[in-house]
């Protein structure tokens, strides 16, 4: 008998470690022939700690299971949710990037290979750099960090640049509230990120890579560091990748709690050991990136999706999706939601389906008021925009952005002016200080919202004007996109900004 318990942070946050320990103790006490295997997360966070028992007829799911319930579970006195992969939330997904996450032991390279791992890299090793880049172009993969820039074109720029050293930098500085896909894949299937980075290196001529991640993610860092060591020992990384004579090696680096370091040029400065101040573009990082050398900066999910594109072919991947948003997107459903978690699906599912049908509405049971999409710089959409299909262009048309595909659901108790003020306050705290619209604008934004809250309705026009200045004049997305949550809250819920409310909250 095999028993699977997730080691993902979200499972641990609900006591998965204690459940696994209790299982181990009971197995010994009862003299059972059973093995406890720690996996990544299946992404159904509301069921964590999820325990899966395979007694020969597939993985039966039980959850949430507490440590105290373990004896009853082993006695057969807890009802099963059925086969994990038949739970509707799971069954309705198209898992390409997250195919192995939750299924395998994240630190078993043998497990990884048994489930399709390294097949993509082996294929890439047979191809020229140009053919590798062409494959990524054909797949239609676009930057999953939020900007949606075509990954293949970025790689091609680096490929054609001349330099003695090029770099692959993985942006794992996942600071957006409502997003956790990077963390989940790093904790649950780290080899796919490593494999993706090696393929990026082969395609561009880069031989060194860095994963820049957050100090807030100690579990992900631990798993990634161990995975890098395992990959190096197995010859997946090093001077002779899988015996090909080609070199690629990488390191894990940790940020220090600055949100702006998720912006690629600020990240590069931080990685170099400088203040995480944004650089003006041009020069593009693809030409003058880390230490002034040509550098691919890609999000975790972009890189982690590369292996499956090479394993199954670009044409296979490009068949999924909607218009120019090709492939699948791991959507993170979070906040005040009944069924929160990670839902990977082809682009195109309407927002309302994700929130109400997949997510099951609010956790509080109250009506959904708004959804913030794409983190602290993302717009708030009300119910009237729930028909919007999940795609880069579709959200853009509606005045929003998909960002890193995190949805934060709010019920009708949400105070939208308070949320708008928080957006400005957050920008003021996290601004790197380089450009004036962001550094000063965010502070003035907080003050202007306080004036509105105190009853000064005339300040609304000033706020709108300030937001336009920040949008047009900021150097990066922090100052440039903070107006999204502010203006969308104002436009969708103008009555809350009418200036008649009391200042006291």
């Amino acid at each position: 008998m095999k028993i699977y318990v997730s080691r993902d942070s979200a499972a641990k946050a609900f006591g998965a470690d204690e459940v696994a320990e209790a299982l181990q103790e009971e197995i010994v006490a009862r003299g059972l022939r059973a093995e406890v295997i720690r996996t990544g997360s299946r992404g159904m966070v509301w069921l964590e700690p999820l325990v899966e028992i395979d007694a020969g007829r597939g993985r039966m799911a039980y959850g949430p299971v507490s440590a105290e319930e373990v004896p009853a579970l082993l006695d057969g006195n807890i009802d099963s949710l059925g086969l994990t992969e038949e739970i509707p939330f799971f069954a309705r997904q198209t898992r390409l990037t997250f195919a192995r996450c939750g299924l395998t032991d994240p630190l078993s390279l043998a497990d990884y290979e048994a489930h399709g791992g390294l097949a993509g890299l082996r294929r890439a090793l047979e191809l020229s750099a140009e053919a590798i880049v062409d494959e990524v172009k054909t797949s239609g993969l676009r930057g999953r960090g939020g900007a949606g820039f075509p990954t293949g074109i970025k790689w091609d720029t680096v490929r054609m640049a001349h330099a003695d050293q090029k770099y692959i930098v993985c942006n794992a500085d996942e600071g957006d509230s409502g997003t956790f896909a990077d963390r989940m894949i790093m904790e649950g299937d780290p080899f796919t990120l490593i494999e993706g980075m090696v393929i990026a290196g082969l395609g561009t001529g880069a031989t060194r890579g860095y994963v820049y991640t957050r100090s807030e993610y100690p579990d992900a860092i631990e798993v990634m560091e161990e995975a890098v060591q395992i990959a190096r020992a197995a010859g997946v990384l090093g001077p002779d990748v899988l015996g090909s004579g080609r070199a690629f090696d990488m390191e894990i680096r940790m940020g220090a709690g600055a949100y702006v370091c998720g912006e690629e040029t600020s990240l590069l400065n931080s990685l170099e050991g400088k203040r995480g101040v944004v650089r003006a573009k041009p020069p593009l990082p693809a030409l003058e990136g880390f230490l002034g050398r040509p550098t691919v900066v890609n999000n975790v999910i972009s890189l982690a999706t590369v292996p499956v594109i090479f394993e199954k072919g670009a044409a296979f991947y490009a068949e999924f999706g909607l218009g120019r948003s090709k492939g699948t997107i791991p959507i993170q459903i979070a906040g005040n939601v009944a069924h929160g978690g990670l839902f990977e699906t082809a682009f195109g599912m309407p927002l309302g389906t994700l929130v109400n049908d997949i997510g099951g509405g609010t956790a509080s049971g109250r009506p959904v008021k708004a959804v913030q999409i794409g983190g602290p710089l993302g717009a708030y959409f009300g119910q009237e925009k729930f028909d919007t299909p999940f795609g880069y262009e579709d959200f853009d048309v509606q005045g929003g952005l998909i960002g890193h595909a995190g949805l934060v659901v709010f019920d009708d108790s949400a105070d939208m002016m308070k949320m708008a003020r928080f957006a400005m306050e957050f920008c003021a705290v996290e601004s790197c200080g380089k450009c004036t619209p962001c550094r000063i604008g965010a502070v003035r934004g907080v003050e202007t919202l306080d004036r509105i809250a105190a009853g000064d309705g005339a300040a609304v026009e000033l706020l709108t004007d300030l937001c336009e200045t920040m949008k047009d004049g900021s150097l990066c997305a922090l100052g440039g996109f903070t107006p999204y949550p502010v203006l969308s809250a104002l436009e969708t819920f103008p009555e809350e900004f009418a200036g008649t409310r009391e200042a006291a909250e």
Binding site: S9, A10, K12, A13, F14, V45, W46, E48, G175, D176, S177, G178, T179, F180, D182, R183, M184, R208, S215, E216, Y217, P218, E251, R253, M254, G255, A256, G257, A258, Y259, S270, L271, E272, G273, K274, R275, G276, V277, F290, L291, Q332, I333, A334, G335, N336, V337, G340, G341, L342, A363, Q372, P376, G406, V408, V409, A414, M419, F422, E430, C432
Partner: protein
């Protein structure tokens, strides 16, 4: 209180990272992990080793929220204040926890037991409100759960 770090100890930590590309952040993290804060006397030594000015190193330290100039309490509680946690009532929860401990954000209890810090997202947005205590994560936090966890601390 722990004795002041010696120049020798600092040199030893520096030596572990000087071969890296961009060694400053790894050095600062290692120093803080070792001593619990960034000792001021390490700054000229770091500057010398990396051929930077003291002002440049100081500028880097002050840029990042993680680095502290003085030791924290014996335990560090990080409460998430980002939007997903707010949607599940993290503001009210934080108010209760702070008043329970008698501290403000970044404050340490008078007995030196707990320091409370804000954090903007732990990636636990589907199990909000979330917190991290000494590197261990906690989800779906309530006042009762938080009280129980904090009371168990030495």
């Amino acid at each position: 209180m722990d004795p002041q770090p010696t120049a020798e100890e600092i040199r030893e930590i520096l030596g572990k990272h000087l071969h890296l590309e961009g060694p400053l952040l790894p050095i600062l993290h290692d120093l803080q992990d070792t001593f619990g804060y960034l000792p001021q006397e390490a700054v000229p030594q770091i500057a010398g080793a990396l051929n930077l000015s003291v002002a440049e190193v100081t500028g880097v330290i002050s840029f990042y929220h993680d680095f502290r100039k003085a030791p924290a309490g014996r335990h560090v509680l990080k409460l998430c204040r980002a939007e997903a946690c707010q949607s599940m009532g993290s503001d009210a929860l934080a108010d209760r926890v702070l008043s329970l401990l008698g501290v403000d954000w970044h404050g340490t209890t008078t007995d030196g037991r707990i320091t409370v810090e804000p954090v903007y997202c732990l990636g636990l947005c589907a199990c909000a409100p979330a917190a991290m205590l000494d590197g261990r994560v906690h989800g779906a936090l309530t006042e009762a759960k938080a009280t129980k966890i904090l009371e168990a601390l030495a």
